[in-house]
């Protein structure tokens, strides 16, 4: 088991290196000059050259690459030309906001998707099943920016139940920094007022972000439950007199959770990389907005940093998923 984890961690390192190579190459063949962009349209050649020297952009590419990699290993992702702050500092500010959204969305996606999938499977080909599946397809098909605006109109403008944008009211100070996720930090500091405010702000964006994830989890879980429910051991469990609810929720669900778990892992990575639309609609200061505005400005260090961070996150989540496989299914425990 620990050997397996060690091997996976080593493999993760290798994959991250690959990721660095790709992002570095792409950043450098992109036809834009970060130094010129940073210097502004009225800058003289000398000013641009100064900036280029300052950021080490005048060095040969291999040297820049080695510098960057050494930096990454030491936890230095370079400096953003636009914000002039170190990328790690920016990420520490923006990433928790996105992570908060993604965690909340994932909780919604799993918490609704799994039970709805189970219900759909048990009531296969009845009205509730058709309705659930129709809703699921619709949720995937609706574009996030459009649906987000619709929800804003309904819940924030008409009903005035929820705020339209941001993470907190303007007048409210953020809770003391622990993780940067306001929901967690406010609870940690015992500021329940701030917590409920943060929750109200996060509700709509998390809901919109969770829909595609919810729908795919629902569909995978439904398909898998239908298959498992027709398995021989389910017939046997029923013949042994075990109550129907327990057969479905314990005996069948644990078998059906394996593919659902894989879907959760994939969706996690997908959500981290696709928050930008939701962040734009709800004015949520996360890494999606940060990455896109940096890319538009031709500021590549932040883009590379965000890519690495999402990549690392994706790999860690999938390692956890693989380890959970072993917890759920004893047949996989001794596998190499």
């Amino acid at each position: 088991m620990w050997r397996y984890v060690a091997r996976r961690v080593a493999l993760t390192g290798l994959m991250l290196f690959g990721l660095i190579c790709i992002t570095f190459t792409v950043s450098n063949i992109a036809p834009s000059d970060p130094a010129a962009l940073a210097a502004g349209p009225d800058a003289t050649r000398d000013m641009v050259a100064t900036i280029r020297r300052e950021y080490g952009l005048d060095r040969p590419l291999p040297e820049q690459f080695i510098r960057y990699v050494t930096g990454v290993v030491q936890g230095d992702l370079g400096r953003s030309i636009v914000s002039t702050r170190p990328v790690t500092q920016d990420l520490a500010r923006f990433f928790p906001a996105t992570l908060e959204l993604v965690v909340l969305s994932m909780l919604l996606g799993v918490g609704l998707g799994v039970p709805l999938g189970m219900m759909s499977a048990v009531l296969k080909n009845t009205a509730p099943d058709h309705l659930t599946r129709f809703a699921a397809v619709s949720l995937v098909a609706l574009p996030a920016f459009w649906f987000g605006i619709l929800l804003q109109l309904f819940f924030s403008v008409w009903l005035e139940w929820l705020p339209t944008s941001g993470r907190l009211e303007v007048a409210t100070a953020p809770p003391p920094f622990v993780t940067g996720m306001y929901l967690f930090d406010s609870l940690f500091a015992g500021q329940f007022n701030t917590f409920s405010q943060a929750l109200a702000h996060a509700a709509l964006p998390a809901l919109v972000l969770s829909f595609p994830c919810l729908a795919s989890i629902l569909r995978v879980n439904r398909a898998e439950m239908i298959e498992v429910l027709s398995a021989d051991y389910i017939t046997a469990a029923r013949a042994h007199g075990i109550a129907r609810l327990r057969v479905i929720c314990v005996h069948a669900l644990r078998n059906a959770m394996l593919p659902t778990l894989a879907m959760i892992g994939l969706r996690w990575g997908w959500m981290l990389g696709s928050t930008v639309l939701v962040e734009t609609v709800f004015d949520w200061p996360g890494i999606g907005l940060y990455a896109v505005s940096s890319a538009i400005a031709g500021d590549f260090k932040p883009v590379m940093g965000v890519t690495l961070l999402i990549g690392l996150n994706f790999m860690v989540i999938n390692l956890i998923v693989d380890l959970l496989y072993g917890v759920l299914d004893p047949r996989l425990r001794n596998a190499p």
Binding site: Y233, A237, G241, I242, R246, R331
Partner: protein, 328 residues
Amino acid sequence: MTPLLDIRDWRLAFDGFEGRAQVLDGINLTVMPGETIGIVGETGCGKSVLARSVARLVDMPPGRILGGSIHFDGQDVMAMNGAALARLRGHGIAMIFQDPMTYLNPVFSIGAQMVDVIRAHDRASGQRPRNSAAARKKAADLLGSMRLPEPAGMLDRYPHELSGGMRQRVLIAMALIGTPRLLIADEPTTALDVTIQAQVLRLIAELVAMHALTLMLISHDLGVIGALCRRVVVMYAGTIVEDGEATTVFANPRHPYTRGLLAAVPDLEKPQHRAQPIPGQIPNLLSPPSGCRFHPRCALAVEQCTRDKPVMRDVAGRSVACHLAEHA
């Protein structure tokens, strides 16, 4: 004495894309307490579906009841509510199945699965479910009485770590948890090696004798039925064609299908007699043959067989559904 199991004119169909297949057509079967009854027939003749309808394990849909009734110990099985059904399954009727590989849940340990059943039975009999230590103790005792080695250690093992014979013993132990009155064994040895088959059959025979169980053994193997059952019921294409004492039926079969089944068994003592297969194939139940369902394959069939459905009649000490039973 009231019969333990009373099946009357039981007719069951499955609805599918191609139409409705009537897999059980007017089954009448009465089983008295303490009987050992073997149900024999080709694959697809409806013997497993019959066994599953008794414990109400046929899913509806795709299953559909066209008529008839099933009473267990005087109670209408089809009218049972959740609590009565929980008592029926395991307490009244227990089942063991064909393929022990697939009838144990792969992701739970043997102990967890047994404890679950033990506690379900506590609940069904109106007691507070015993705690997990007591349930594990009972599970280990049961496994020990199945002559499984190291029963306590067995509890923490998973199905994939056991051999087929061990798994079947675990399944038998699970079936006996609720001290059932009727044990339905659906092809319990078909998936096992021949040597293991003999052991498992002997175990079943001992348990039937020890607990005074009523046994309903389903098999396509006449030898298995002859070894364990006093009464035999022969099924063909969703109907019962012959029903009587095993010795009587085997010595002097009256239905042409029973004769065909017996002739298809190779006889080691008379090697010059080659086993005779029954010509033709089992009928498509989407459009079953008219009259006697066996007539297209029957060498003796006359015009009446294609027209009239034969009813069960007492002939020569057993019941048989054949127009020509007296002449055979």
